[in-house]
Symmetry: C3
Subunit: 135 residues, 3 copies
């Protein structure tokens, strides 16, 4: 298992971590298998989406921030970041990627994003690869 | 693969299953790898979120129940639980956890939750661990 | 890793791919382990939900299309499909299934769906199985 840190700069923000994940795969020397990218935080998430046009992640965040307002009358959690916990469970704490011929199998427009929902903070990401073995 | 049952007590409810999962990992004797926690029901889910302050899961459920009302004019499914099916696909049927040194790798505030969206019922959860092997 | 193609026929549509996945498992000769079903597209997703009553997937799509409208004033992405990217990150790019005794471990009502959010198109799906090995 490998870990790396990232520094987020806004309360909500998508950070492209594709290169970090790709380098971890190469360091672990996996030729074929899967790779789990795991977020150990409960007010953040990881997802896969387009990394060509930055307007796409802008629009995803715009929708999430409108659909899940920070303050709502029946929220009880005293830290004022219940919206971040909700977004974390909607988007998910991990993504599972495929590895083939020693590299990530990503679609043409896909990148891996760390999703900050309660920043800015220093955050950790874990990467664990598993080799395919055949019976 | 191991399975365990839980009894839910309300229509919508988060049940902390972290200890069940941790014990399954120890019984399977996995030192390093991943662990998939799988929900075989289409009106429930599993997620990872904060298990320190119970107000967090209250707020997540409050948002989900408001965002996905049980009755909506264009719903066709006759059982009246379409909202539960929707929540199941939003939150997800499984989580993938990392295992290191024989234990779950969880962030400081993270726990594993079974998410009941159409209870109360008796529910099953499956746990399957995979060992990391290096090339 | 195996891949197959599907042809979608509407802008938003759920296509049952359970049989495709089951056949891939059998071809790969996996007796026990996990199976990752991966969508390499950023305007589509995969999910697990009921495959008995087609009204269920109708209702899931009805909710998603209402909750995430195609046009919103603050969307910037010029292709007009930001809603599809948002739905992709909400539902998720992959599902992880369990395999036991050479077959998928699915709950009684569960099927695997490809979720088209910006069709009609020809789409690809990847399937990668991993064998459980015990220490």
């Amino acid at each position: 298992m490998e870990s790396f840190e990232i520094l987020t700069r806004r309360r909500t923000e998508f950070v492209d971590i594709t290169d970090h994940v790709r380098q971890a795969i190469k360091r672990q020397g996996i030729s074929q298998g899967i790779c789990v990218v795991y977020c150990p935080h409960t007010t953040a998430a990881v997802t896969i989406n387009e990394n060509a046009d930055p307007d796409v992640t802008h629009d995803i965040l715009a929708w999430l921030n409108r659909a899940v307002p920070q303050q709502q009358p029946d929220f009880r959690h005293g830290e004022g970041n219940s919206d971040a916990h909700i977004k974390s469970s909607l988007v998910g704490s991990s993504v599972t990627l495929l590895v083939d011929q020693g590299d990530l199998v990503l679609g043409r427009w896909q990148g891996v994003y760390f999703c900050e929902f309660d920043g800015p903070r220093t955050r950790s990401v874990h990467v664990q690869a598993l080799v395919t073995t055949t019976t």
